[in-house]
């Protein structure tokens, strides 16, 4: 081998090393950027899909999370942000997300009588078991289940069942837990029926257990709802007490359930998200609708409608006062007052509609 050959080999090696190092640095930056970009795009797409469901009420499937590590998705209630690794996305809508490979996205509503609050539930395959220990609470269970997804004909399922002591009632629907519509059909007429406390040990990890009882003393597992005919009461998650005043409070907790991370109990965090957004939106809605009622009152030619619009405006002002307190949803008396005023405002508005002076909400 002559000097020239050796020179060629050495120069070739140096140049190749330079090229390889350059390419590796370029690809590692580019590759890392691509993964984060992809995560950001998936979160953005989820936000858009869920917002479309919220706006139009048409349920949707979301399968993009299977392209990333969805188990790393978590939720920060203080900044109202979904976080995965170094990528995050702030939620501006009431979207109750439980991460999974494939999700079914459904819109639920809480009808206040004078306004409707819409929210979205995004769930993977889910099984929810009710343990109804108060025979008068079936109406409440029906109200909750009615706002949950109906997944008949879909590949992603939300199923419901009942637990009585050590028996898991799974034989409603061909030896499987029922989907929403069949479950509702099966439990109509159960009024008065009382079950004994469910032994949680008979249920596997995949089930979400919801106790419904007139008292939650001594119940520290799952979710426990202290039943109330007025729709306002206490709800317990993982032993922690909170106030519920509508079906959305309860559903937020059911969707998040007791999964826990450094941000706390997931169900509690979704409950906080719901109430932060609800308070802002309901306050704004009450102010707008109150001003609307007053402006229409001044234009009405029928005296009765004029007076009814004035009354509606006053009731909505009282509702605005309650909602101005950021912590109102944590206090049971404020929650009861809010509920009562909402019912009164709803009744007044229905009277206006019956007189032909306005359209239904």
């Amino acid at each position: 081998m002559d000097t020239y050959q050796i020179f060629k080999i050495i120069l070739g090696l140096i140049v190749s090393a330079f090229i390889v190092i350059f390419i590796v640095i370029f690809i590692s930056n580019y590759g890392g950027l691509q993964t984060d970009t992809q995560k950001a795009k998936i979160l953005s797409l989820f936000d858009k899909t869920a917002t479309n469901v919220l706006l139009y009420g048409n349920d949707a499937n979301f399968t993009e999370f299977k392209r990333m590590d969805y188990s790393a998705i978590t939720f920060d209630p203080i900044s109202e942000t979904i976080i995965t690794g170094s990528v995050s996305r702030k939620l501006t809508e009431p979207i109750f997300l439980y991460p999974g490979k494939t999700l079914y996205i459904h819109r639920g509503e809480a009808d206040l009588g004078w306004w409707k609050f819409y929210f979205v539930e995004a769930l993977p395959d889910t099984s929810i078991i009710f343990n109804v220990m108060d025979g008068d609470a079936w109406e409440q269970v029906i109200d909750i289940v009615t706002e949950m997804p109906s997944t008949t004909g879909e590949t992603i399922k939300t199923r419901f069942g009942l637990c009585d002591g050590s028996t898991l009632q799974e034989d409603f629907c061909n030896d499987e837990l029922c989907e929403r519509d069949y479950f509702l059909q099966a439990i109509y007429g159960n009024e008065g029926m009382t079950f004994s406390r469910c032994r949680e040990t008979i249920l596997g990890e995949k089930y979400r257990l919801v106790f419904v009882s007139d008292s939650c003393t001594g119940i520290n597992e799952g979710i426990c709802i202290e039943s109330s005919p007025d729709g306002v009461g206490y709800i317990y998650i993982d032993g922690n007490q909170h106030v519920y005043k509508d079906v959305a409070d309860i559903i937020a907790m059911i969707v998040g359930y007791i999964k826990s991370d450094h941000f706390g109990v997931y169900g509690e965090n979704l409950y906080t998200l719901k109430n932060e957004i609800f308070r802002e939106r309901a306050l704004f809605a009450s102010q707008v609708l109150s001003s609307r009622a007053k402006i229409l009152s001044s234009e009405m030619t029928i005296n009765q409608c004029k007076q009814l619009f004035e009354t509606l405006g006053e009731k909505l002002d009282e509702i605005s006062n309650i909602l101005s307190d950021e912590d109102y949803y944590k206090d049971i008396d404020s929650a009861i007052q809010f509920k009562q005023l909402s019912e009164e405002a709803g009744r007044t508005h229905r009277e206006i509609v019956n007189m032909g002076c306005d359209y239904p909400i």
């Binding site: 020239y4 020179f7 060629k8 120069l11 070739g12 140049v15 330079f18 090229i19 350059f22 370029f26 858009k48 917002t51 706006l55 139009y56 501006t92 809508e93 306004w115 409707k116 802002e280 939106r281 704004f284 809605a285 707008v288 001003s291 609307r292 402006i295 229409l296 234009e299 009405m300 030619t301 029928i302 002076c357 306005d358 359209y359 909400i361």
Partner: protein
């Protein structure tokens, strides 16, 4: 001389190969930048369309999808801080206008004092700014349309314009 010529040729060839690879790197980076530019333009356009859909379905403004409630619009457009109030839901740097196609032939901006004898509402509109916008045919529900002494609510037709200001 021949040996030196061969060496020079080899060196030139090596330099050219490195140059081609560097040009390729620049090209890929440049292409990515252009793609981001295209994506950004598409994103802005998508955002305007999304804002337009949101605006025409939100119950603060509408009676039903695509049908605005004139009393709600009047109350909202008269609010001093409506852009701030709507920021958590609609973001910032946007504007919207709604105009009714009536027989008056002129624009009359609605306020609480001239309601309902007016035909135009404006939200967060600023002058002398570049913007990207979209228009959409819509209906406007006139709550207190008078015929004689009676009130018969009716649907008028008009146009919604929604846009983002260029930052």
């Amino acid at each position: 001389m021949k040996g030196q010529m061969e060496l020079m040729e080899y060196l030139f060839l090596t330099v050219f190969v490195i140059l081609i690879i560097i040009v390729l790197m620049f090209f890929i980076t440049g292409w990515q930048v252009t793609q981001s530019g295209i994506e950004r333009t598409k994103e802005v356009s998508d955002e305007v369309t999304f804002l337009m859909k949101k605006f025409s379905t939100m119950d603060y403004f509408v009676k039903e999808d695509g049908v605005f409630d004139d009393a709600k619009l009047t109350v909202l457009s008269s609010m001093e801080n409506v852009c701030e109030e709507l920021r958590p839901i609609l973001g910032s740097n946007w504007f919207a206008t709604i105009t009714v196609f009536d027989e008056s032939g002129s624009i009359k901006v609605c306020t609480e004092s001239n309601y309902p004898d007016c035909n135009h509402w404006s939200f967060c509109k600023k002058e002398n700014r570049d913007f990207v916008s979209r228009k959409l045919p819509v209906n406007i529900y006139r709550n207190t349309n008078r015929i004689g002494d009676s009130i018969f609510a009716k649907n008028d037709i008009g146009v919604l314009e929604v846009g983002f200001y260029e930052i």
